[in-house]
């Protein structure tokens, strides 16, 4: 409990003391939900840290001061579905294949410098995740980049890549890993309570699974309906149009790293290819192993190489929020959602646009140098 209080205290310290105050802000363009486009001259009204209304015709309560950001874009705060921020680099516990009792919240260092870097990149929510060194590496923890936890919400972090069995313990093969996972899930599915494994096996929490090829992805897809698994794949495979031919990716959440993973000639088209195959593509930063801004840059590049702008922006906001089970709370500025948003100097998918301001729960947590 003390840990939680600490983090909450930190979060409070970061924000200005004024509490349930209204915030109204207008911009040249307002993106409420990335998949629905933008509203010209839209206004966003936030009360008590939650969005009250957003759009073109927002009635402001009397006496509310409207902040004006003409020419700027307001977009929902970015959601990073895989990062290792706020940790002191020891992200993996390697001793067991199933580290079911590991909760990464125990490792988060309050006030770590990574949080500021994330905020500066326009990311307001991030999943702090362990690495790929165990089949189940424990519970990943979604946080606001102020350092506040999002309640008791957790995500199971799994890995089917070969690094999951590189620590001197079998199984050594992909088939072995899947067989072990299958047997373990079967047992866990019938268990009440328990750790992230059981919750994942029952379908209560989503699982972020690292996969290094589409074969293991397909194997898990075959398994998913039996247990009602909620899956996000962290894709570490090279992809060409041929690779995904015939793979049923409809509605599958696929996370794409900042670029370290797919450097093939066709790699730039990967998000578009996957999107066309029906997948819901989301972008991750993997910070601090990549720059926090890498997430947005990857989305811009994807949009340049065939992904629609809406899908690219959604891959930074609403899709990762859905994947992590946080839809309605983050990822879109719909009424009732957290007032997390970013003020960009121009279109968010324009390489020239800068992050001017970042707000979390209606409070400004970042301001670019030289801005008011």
């Amino acid at each position: 409990m003390s840990r939680l209080t600490l983090i909450c205290a930190l979060a409070l310290a970061l924000s200005s003391p004024a509490a349930a105050q209204d915030l109204a802000i207008s911009a040249g363009q307002l993106v409420v939900d990335a998949e629905k486009g933008s509203v010209k001259g839209g206004v966003l009204l936030i009360r008590g840290g939650k969005v009250v209304s957003a759009g073109a015709n927002v009635k402001l309560p009397a006496g509310t001061k409207l902040l004006k950001r003409p020419g700027a874009w307001i977009v929902p705060g970015f959601v990073d579905a895989r990062a290792h921020l706020g940790l002191e680099r020891d992200i993996d516990e390697r001793s067991q294949a199933f580290a079911n009792d590991i909760d990464l919240a125990d490792r988060v260092v309050p006030g770590h410098k990574d949080f500021a870097k994330h905020r500066a990149a326009g990311i307001t929510t991030a999943l702090i995740s362990p690495g790929d060194q165990s089949l189940l590496a424990g519970a990943a923890v979604p946080v606001k980049t102020t350092g506040a936890l999002l309640g008791t919400q957790r995500v199971a972090k799994l890995s089917l890549t070969s690094s999951a069995s590189m620590n001197g313990r079998p199984p050594t093969s992909q088939g072995g890993r899947l067989a072990l996972l299958r047997a373990t899930l079967k047992k866990a599915h019938a268990t009440k309570g328990g750790g992230p494994l059981e919750a994942f096996a029952r379908g209560d929490v989503p699982g972020l699974v690292s996969v290094s090829n589409f074969t293991s992805l397909e194997a898990l897809q075959r398994l998913a309906p039996r247990f009602g698994l909620r899956l996000i794949y962290d894709l570490q495979a090279s992809v060409s149009p041929r690779t995904v031919k015939g793979v049923d990716l409809k509605g599958v959440f696929l996370a794409i790293g900042p670029g370290r993973v797919e450097f093939g000639q066709a790699a730039r088209q990967v998000p578009a290819v996957l999107n066309k195959a029906g997948a819901k593509v989301l972008f991750t930063s993997r910070a601090p192993y990549g720059p926090a801004s890498g997430m947005r840059l990857r989305a811009i590049q994807a949009a340049k190489d065939g992904l629609s702008g809406a899908a690219a922006l959604a891959g930074l906001t609403s899709i990762p929020a859905q994947a992590l089970g946080l839809e309605g709370r983050v990822g879109a500025l719909t009424p009732g959602a957290d007032g997390d948003f970013v003020v960009f100097s121009g279109p968010p998918l324009d390489l020239r646009s800068r992050v001017l301001e970042v707000y979390v729960a209606g409070r400004r947590v970042y301001r670019a140098d030289g801005e008011e």
Binding site: G176, F214, A303
Partner: protein, 434 residues
């Protein structure tokens, strides 16, 4: 508002989007899936029917046989495509297709709970290669790196629903593969799970016996033991890789002890033991023939060129395999070699179609062109097992998945040109694909 706002974002994306990618999406299946082929019909273990044909409806064989009998079954208005020769799609009973680059499990000698399908990349080029050579169904077997191996799977080489059996028979191996295939074979140092343990035939046999004994005894069986119990109860098959005579004998012996009927795989030296194999009611997946110079094969195998013919004489159920390793002959090549060394062509065709289907337990679904079977067939430019013919088109589930049915030019002058005078509609669209 929505429409207005979406325009903005569309404009935004327009300025950002570069050249789009084109996608090879499979076309949606046509509603009318009737396909009628007429040509020389080669059925397994039968004399070819010179004027035969096949009627395909909704991906299944509706009728097949002599054209005289078939003509009245052809639906009205259906286009009849003339082809030189038709045979069922070939079935490869033992293969490692699609598992390229995936390591076998080194964690244990007994891994029957593992599934090969977890390692199979269904988009691997190996499937295209097999398809192009007329193979429509392939049994992917575990890498023989364990004494009791994982569960094989049966998949088609193309089409929509490709997995026929997700997790079927388990593999066994008593031969040297079980200890030489480990990717970290260390001659000295402390043993780890990477060090292969049994390195003699007797050692491997002991591991096998122990596994089945423990499975029988276990009060609460592990997943692996549950699978072995299935095997003992006859619910699941066991395919034993046994090449040399000693391995074959040992495999038959331990299978009898465990009360299991087995299928012998590769079995290059089976000609010594045909009586014993028949006595054990074992089947044989034989091949590849004359595959003797590879370094993988430890020890000298004693070859015989006419083993397929001897197998046919002995009455042991058998099929042929090419083990689709690189540089080796394809499955048809194996059948052709068998024919050259004395097997009847119709029996050789049987040994790569209906016989493997039966060994895989799919004899009611594939391997022959019979009513209700999957419409998996190959159109050849001449007799299927002739060196001068090649596959022109491959049909899986009633759809052409490789090549074209209607050739732009007949490959041989002697053959009547397809569609000429027979069907005036056909000649208008000579390159129509199905």
């Amino acid at each position: 508002m929505a429409s207005k706002s979406s325009i903005h974002l569309a404009a935004l994306s327009l300025c950002l989007v570069g050249a789009g990618v084109s996608f090879a999406q499979e076309p949606a299946p046509k509603k009318d899936t009737t396909l009628v082929l007429r040509g020389k019909l080669y059925q397994p273990a039968q004399e070819p029917i010179p004027d035969g044909g096949v009627v395909i409806k909704d991906g299944k064989i509706f009728a097949a046989g002599a054209w005289a009998r078939l003509a009245r079954l052809v639906p009205k208005g259906a286009k009849v495509i003339r082809v030189p020769a038709i045979s069922p799609g070939l079935i490869e009973a033992s293969s490692s297709a699609g598992t390229r680059g995936v390591y076998a499990e080194q964690g244990s000698e007994v891994v029957p709970e593992l599934r090969v399908i977890d390692n199979v990349n269904l988009r691997d080029r190996a499937f295209d290669r097999l398809l192009e050579r007329g193979v429509t169904t392939v049994h992917i077997e575990p890498d023989p790196a364990s004494v009791v191996g994982s569960q094989g799977c049966v998949v088609k080489t193309a089409g929509k629903a490709r997995i026929l059996i997700e997790a079927g028979v388990i593999g066994g191996c008593l031969g040297s593969d079980a200890w030489t295939r480990g990717w970290n074979r260390r001659p000295f140092g402390a043993p780890t799970h990477m060090t292969r343990r049994p390195n003699t035939l007797m050692g491997a046999v002991w591991v096998f016996r122990e596994a089945f004994f423990l499975a029988k005894q276990a009060k609460s069986p592990t997943p692996a033991q549950a699978v072995l119990r299935d095997v003992m109860a006859g619910k699941r098959g066991l395919h034993f890789l046994a090449r040399r005579r000693g391995e074959i004998e040992a495999a038959l012996r331990v299978s009898r002890e465990a009360g299991v009927r087995i299928v012998l795989k590769e079995a290059q030296e089976v000609h010594h033991l045909l009586d014993i194999v028949a006595e054990h009611k074992a089947s044989v997946i034989f091949g590849p023939l004359e595959d003797l110079s590879r370094s993988r094969r430890r020890g000298v195998l004693q070859p015989r060129l006419d083993t397929p013919a001897l197998l046919a004489l002995s009455g042991v159920p058998f099929c042929l395999t090419a083990s689709d390793e690189q540089g080796q002959d394809d499955l048809r090549g194996q059948a052709m070699l068998a024919v050259r060394y004395g097997l009847e062509p119709s029996v050789a065709l049987d040994a790569v179609t209906a016989a493997p289907a039966a060994i895989l337990g799919l004899e009611k679904r594939i391997g022959s062109l019979s009513k209700g079977f999957d419409a998996d067939l190959v159109v050849w430019s001449g007799p299927p097992l002739s060196a001068t013919s090649k596959p022109l088109a491959v049909v899986i589930d009633g759809r052409v998945v490789s090549g074209t049915l209607i050739q732009p030019k007949p490959s041989k002058g002697s053959k009547p040109a397809p569609n000429k005078n027979k069907n005036p509609r056909g000649s208008k669209k000579p390159t129509q694909r199905f």
